[in-house]
Every structure is written in C-alpha cells, then in structure tokens.
C-alpha cells in the first residue's frame, strides 16, 4: 500500500514479518477469492498468486499499515488482470454491462426478507445461509464484490475505494445497486416461503 521504500531486510526478518503480518489475513482472503471465483481450486490458485506477489513486493510494504486492504487489492487486481483471462469459464457478467438492469428503486411495500422470531433453529439458520449464498452468487461479480467487502469483511468506503481503484461515490452507488439487486432476489425467496408481510 505504501510507496515508501523499505530498508533492506534479511531473508529471515522478511520471512518472519511476512508470516506475522500477512498470513493472518489468509482466512478472509481465501473467502474473498472463493466468492469471486466460486470455485475452491481457483480460489486456492488466486490466493497463492496473491501471496507470491505480496512477498515479491514486501520490501515496499510499510509495517503497521493496512495489510488486509493491501492483500485484498492485490488479489482483486490478480483476479481482473490475469485470472479472469486465463479462466476457461465464460466471462462472468460485468457490472457495466448490466448497469441498466439495476436502476430500480421500487422496493417499498414488499416484504422483509425474513423475520427472526421463528427462525432460531439451526436447520433454518442453515437454510437462510444457503439462500443468502445463492442469491449473492447470482449477482454480477462487481456487485458481489462490494457486498462482501462491506458487509462480510467490514471495510470502510475509503478502504473499498482503494482496493477497487474507484472513487468513493462509485463505491456508494455500486453498493446501493448491489443491495437492491440482492434484496430483490431474497424477497422472491421470502415470498416463495410464504412470508408476505
């Protein structure tokens, strides 16, 4: 994240710092990779690629700065620049291509996605989790990305702007549209389950 040239570290120092500062981000990073690629092997490759790059540029990483945001940015760039091109899968729909579809704001008057009072058993919780996952996975990758970064990983708008290389205004509008789209999908599900309040 920093462009400050770090002092030369010995290999041992570098390895120790790399392990202490960057490896703890492995779990969120792998989860992010999985939500982008929707494939465990692809997520595995993407995370390895990310750490390899991070190690290569570790001398430029300023200690104490936001390691998590830095790694997420590297991973997201790897996904866009290399991974998506290499992937044999058909190109996933890009945000700009579907932008027009997601301009509806008419969500008032529809039912909430679920009530919580009668949903405390584990199996119902699992069911909700599965449904949220499938609704999220059905979103275009750019929508999915902002929701994961914000709601699952708790990044601020400013951090998201840096990770995604877009202005904060674009983060806000993309998040707004992504949530409307997710809401629409979950409301359909809630209705099919008989929640019509």
């Amino acid at each position: 994240m920093s462009d400050q040239t770090g002092k030369q570290l010995s290999k041992e120092e570098k390895d120790a710092r790399f392990e202490a500062e960057l490896l703890p981000v492995l779990d969120p990073l792998y989860n992010f990779a999985y939500r982008l690629t929707l494939d465990e092997d692809d997520a595995n490759d993407l995370v390895q690629e990310t750490y390899l790059k991070a190690y290569r540029f570790f001398d430029y990483f300023e200690q104490g700065t936001n390691a998590k945001a830095w790694l997420f940015r590297i991973l997201k760039n790897s996904f866009i620049n290399e991974f998506r091109k290499k992937s044999k899968q058909p190109a996933k729909v890009d945000y700009s291509e579907v932008e027009g579809y997601y301009n509806t704001d008419d969500v008032e008057g529809e039912s909430g996605v679920a009530t919580t009072t009668d949903m405390r058993t584990e199996s119902v919780q699992d069911l909700i989790g599965d449904e949220v996952a499938s609704a999220l996975n059905a979103l275009p990758v750019d929508f999915r990305t902002v929701i994961i970064l914000c709601d699952l990983e708790g990044f601020t708008y400013e951090e998201m702007a840096k990770i995604l290389d877009i202005p904060i205004g674009t983060v806000r509008s993309r998040l707004h549209r992504a949530r409307n789209s997710l809401k629409e999908k979950l409301e359909k599900y809630a209705k099919s389950m008989g929640y019509n309040s």
Partner: protein, 93 residues
Amino acid sequence: MESKFTEAYPKTPDATREEECLRVSDMLDLMIDGEASTDEQQYFNKHIEECVSCFENHQKQKLLKGLVSGHLKRVIVPHSLVQSIKARIQETL
C-alpha cells in the same frame, strides 16, 4: 397561466416531506455502514422518528446487511494452503 402553474406545483408541507424522505433514503447505506457524519445521523434519526415508512426502510436495510454478515457461511481454508504458499515462495526465490 402563471397561477395555474403555481397550482399544479403547490409548495405544501407534503412536498417538503417527500424531499426529506428522498434525502433520508439516499442516506440509508451511509447509516447502516456507519459512514454518516454526526449531522447526517441527527437529521436521519429525527426524520425516522416521525416517518413510519422511512423507519421501516431502515429496518429492512439493516436486516439485509445482517443476513450477509450473520448468515453467510465462511468457507474453510484448506489445511495445505499455507504450506503451498510457503513452498511456492521458496521455489521462486
């Protein structure tokens, strides 16, 4: 003619309320994401105390965020991944 135009677009308290609702609706994400300024928070909270529809929209938006943060299952990192990362790093040195 001018008076007809004025009648068609009366400046009523309702119109002001509608503008407020619109503004509050634009602030929904900022509020649930903890990104609203103190002034925005005050404006927002005052409005939803008086407006049932905006209050409900706020509840729904919080619920939606809670569904993702509280119900989306995390995938388990494969045990071998850390070793693979370390091995690849050593290979490329």
